[in-house]
Symmetry: C2
Subunit: 163 residues, 2 copies
């Protein structure tokens, strides 16, 4: 089902909130105890898990392993767009990088925060486009999903430690 307005309103939301939607709003962690830091890591891993869960369905459809279904595809794509647009500032307190905690988050997240923001903005855009496309047909889903994959990589390559 097409949902005219939903993407626009999310875009508007992103525009109004500006940086608070992205990682710039990193909280000072001076007052944060170890549990607070661990909770932030747990939350961002959960967030990634939800991307993966929704991408699993869409990727399966794109590869022809799962029958294309417009409604399910649209639901999963809308989930991705909702997740990408969420306020994630609290996920990245200082002191939660690889080497200090159990995480693959590279220190570049904090030293190159503007680039990190740009990368997360890229995911917001790509998931909004996918949300519009996913319910149209399989080919549109595949195209939109390709761009989401690129947006994932544009953040993971510079900012996530390889396994």
């Amino acid at each position: 089902m097409k949902l005219p307005g939903s993407t626009f309103s999310r875009y508007t939301l992103a525009g109004l909130l500006g940086v608070t939607l992205t990682a710039t709003a990193v909280l000072g962690a001076a007052h944060m105890d170890k549990k607070g830091l661990e909770d932030a890591i747990k939350a961002r891993k959960s967030h990634m898990q939800l991307y993966a869960f929704n991408l699993g369905l869409l990727g399966g459809m794109a590869k022809g392993e799962i029958d294309y279904d417009a409604s399910s595809a649209e639901g999963a794509a809308a989930n991705l767009a909702a997740l990408a647009a969420m306020d994630q500032g609290r996920y990245w307190p200082e002191g939660t990088e690889a080497g200090m905690m159990d995480t693959r988050a590279l220190p570049e997240i904090w030293s190159k925060m503007e680039e990190f923001d740009t990368a997360t903005d890229g995911l917001i855009q790509a998931t909004m486009t996918l949300e519009e496309a996913a319910g149209t047909d399989l080919q549109s889903l595949q195209a939109g999903l390709g761009d989401v994959g690129k947006a994932c990589g544009a953040c993971h390559k510079p900012f996530r430690k390889p396994e």
Copy 2:
């Protein structure tokens, strides 16, 4: 910051999608292997984790343990509302109840699906109201959060196994 329209558009979205936003759209699990079932459980636990993370900040503010900050409160409340409105039909394949898998999900989720839907709708409503209220002042946050807590309990009591 007040975001006129954002709650309305989410409400519209929920209205248009109807049952697909809630648990009615349970997928038949006949074709689903064990990994598929485990992935669904992992996803719903991640989703709950994100509720907890955002509620942690708001609860801390409501109790006076964390200084009230309108912008952070609004961000966390908007996150809760976005999470509640997400399409969660794929979280509940048959065969993922307590006793069969590592989960506290009671069989009543499947045997009383309409009541489960009503409970999840209650959370959508309560989080939308909280999103409107959280940035106003501490008292409004506290009131809205109280109703979200009731909505959590209205689902957990009948549908989640005690620890």
